[in-house]
């Protein structure tokens, strides 16, 4: 009888542990399941990021003008320079895919404060995100991508998804109203999720940010001119001169949605130009240490905090899963090789 009680205590404790680890709920969406979806749709490409797989690394600096200090105590907003490393990439999990005018482009930046704290942000060239929750993201991926077995989209999958997710249909309309630029250098990049900025008095302000190019926006071409034409264009521009963007902080008002990345805030919201991001060197992932940086959007300095947006924690978890998988794998050469970057 007592022996049974002891066995029972051990089994219950062990069972609770496995339950917490998701062993009894195999159909719940987990970080591993999200990354499995990328591998299912794109194939597994060892050593590469499971999303935004094709990219190139850059360095530069952020020159703060001090304006951001009004809403955040983060050191990065004090007047002065902080070094940055970054990565331009194309959305999608295929590291050797050809550049196309319609592929979503991204810019990830790591700001390295003098006190050792870091701010990492992964931004894209669409003004709102396509989904509101990680579950919807996983379904959207499956509905919007070609079936790996047939190479064709599953008929009816996307209309069914949009019927279930009107917020995605609305977001796609907003995205359609913001045509892409011609290249990486003349594009704005949006952080999409809302965050909270914390000032020296611990006052919290809802904020979204984006970077807007100093390079003149040129309308997107309709056709690709080469397999790596977007990257080659960026390389040529950076060989000629540094590129710069202004970091714009948009301040939310009470009632503005912070937990829905598909919804833009009203256009009249106050904006703060916090300073200039300058990028002056470019390097292939084959040699750059930036290849091994996880641009987890929740690596934040004191003075910037997550909002209630459910995508943030999910991104953090899924990026970590992708990072852990690729770091242990043998590295294949990047499509944007050192020779490509130096030509």
């Amino acid at each position: 009888m007592r022996l049974t009680a002891i066995a029972g205590a051990v089994v219950v404790t062990g069972g609770l542990f496995l339950y917490a680890g998701g062993w009894f709920t195999p159909h719940e969406l987990t970080p591993a399941a999200m990354i499995n979806t990328f591998e299912y749709l794109n194939g597994t490409h060892p050593g590469f990021r499971r999303n935004h797989a094709k990219g190139v690394c850059v360095t530069g600096y952020f020159e703060s003008n001090g304006q951001g200090q009004v809403i955040s105590k983060a050191q990065v907003f004090r007047p002065g320079r902080v070094p940055i490393v970054g990565r331009f990439a194309l959305a999608g999990g295929k590291p050797y895919a050809a550049d196309t005018p319609a592929t979503i482009r991204s810019l990830a930046i790591l700001f390295k404060q003098a006190d050792g704290q870091e701010w990492r942000t992964a931004m894209v060239n669409i003004p709102v995100f396509v989904v509101k929750t990680p579950q919807a993201f996983n379904e959207f991926q499956l509905a919007s991508s070609p079936d790996p077995a047939t190479g064709k989209n599953i008929p009816g999958a996307m209309p069914a998804f949009l019927a279930k997710h009107p917020e995605t249909a609305a977001a796609l309309q907003v995205i359609g109203q913001h045509p892409f630029s011609s290249g990486f250098g003349d594009s704005p990049y949006y952080a999409l999720n809302a965050f909270r900025f914390i000032d020296a008095q611990d006052k919290s302000t809802p904020v979204r940010w984006y970077v807007t190019p100093d390079q003149t926006f040129t309308a997107n071409s309709t056709a690709a001119t080469g397999k790596n034409y977007l990257f080659d264009g960026l390389i040529a521009q950076l060989h000629a001169k540094p590129l710069s963007w202004h970091l714009i902080l948009t301040i939310g008002q009470p009632g503005d949605p912070t937990a829905d990345a598909t919804q833009a805030w009203p256009p009249d919201r106050k904006q703060i130009d916090a300073g200039t991001l300058t990028i002056n060197t470019i390097e292939s992932e084959d040699t750059s240490p930036t290849r091994d940086i996880n641009f987890d959007p929740l690596v934040l300095p004191d003075g910037i905090a997550p909002s209630d947006d459910p995508l943030l924690s999910a991104r953090s978890a899924a990026y970590s899963q992708s990072f852990t998988r690729r770091e242990g794998e043998h590295k294949m050469p990047s499509a944007i090789s050192t020779a490509e970057v130096e030509k």
Binding site: G21, G22, T30, P31, P289, I293, D302, P310, A314, S316
Partner: protein, 190 residues
């Protein structure tokens, strides 16, 4: 004074307090850790607790080891067989090793993975290893294996103490209870 040379009835008070405090921290930590692996929505909150709690456990482990080495420990129950005493001593070493290894591997893993080691607010720790991808991957795997090993060691520890307390009733648990237990000899001296 015969009581001077006799072993104490219990572990030192500080050891007993640390035992129960660390038990609570470690059990919470193991559940937080395994939940993080499966969690999307709570991942960030869990991780924000996981890092400073791990460092707290490392600090407690340092004090605990020092206390363990500097204080006298109670005897095993007289009826405990030699082989079991050996197993108990080995499992104690294993647990102490894991108290140190798990937080240190976690800290080293974040260092090798090029992550800032954020505690809370502006407080963060320096890296203890250079950023190296293959090192990160190995340490990440090691962290998981050691955590499962610690959980299994905890289950074994729990079964053993329940067996001694409920079946053998040899008073083994009294050596570690936080309150003071007076031995028969003590009582006779009053």
């Amino acid at each position: 004074m015969s009581t001077f040379t006799k072993s104490p009835a219990q572990f030192a008070l500080l050891s007993r307090i640390l035992h129960w405090l660390m038990a609570a921290c470690l059990l919470a930590m193991l559940f937080i850790g395994v939940s993080m692996v499966a969690s999307l929505g709570d991942y960030h909150t869990l991780l924000s607790i996981h890092r400073p709690l791990g460092i707290l456990i490392l600090l407690l482990a340092v004090i605990r080891l020092a206390t363990r080495l500097l204080t006298r420990i109670p005897e095993f129950p007289p009826a405990m067989p030699r082989q079991e005493r050996f197993v108990v001593k080995a499992s104690e070493r294993l647990l102490y090793t894991l108290f140190f290894a798990l937080p240190l591997v976690g800290w080293a893993m974040l260092s090798a993975g090029h992550y800032p080691i954020v505690m809370f607010g502006a407080v963060h720790l320096p890296p203890i290893l250079p950023a190296r991808p293959e090192l990160y991957a190995t340490l990440r795997e090691t962290h998981t294996i050691l955590a499962y090993l610690l959980f299994l060691a905890f289950l074994a520890h729990l079964s053993a103490i329940l067996f001694h307390t409920l079946i053998l009733r040899d008073g083994l648990l009294e050596r570690m209870v936080p309150w003071s237990v007076r031995t028969v000899e003590d009582k006779s001296e009053v």
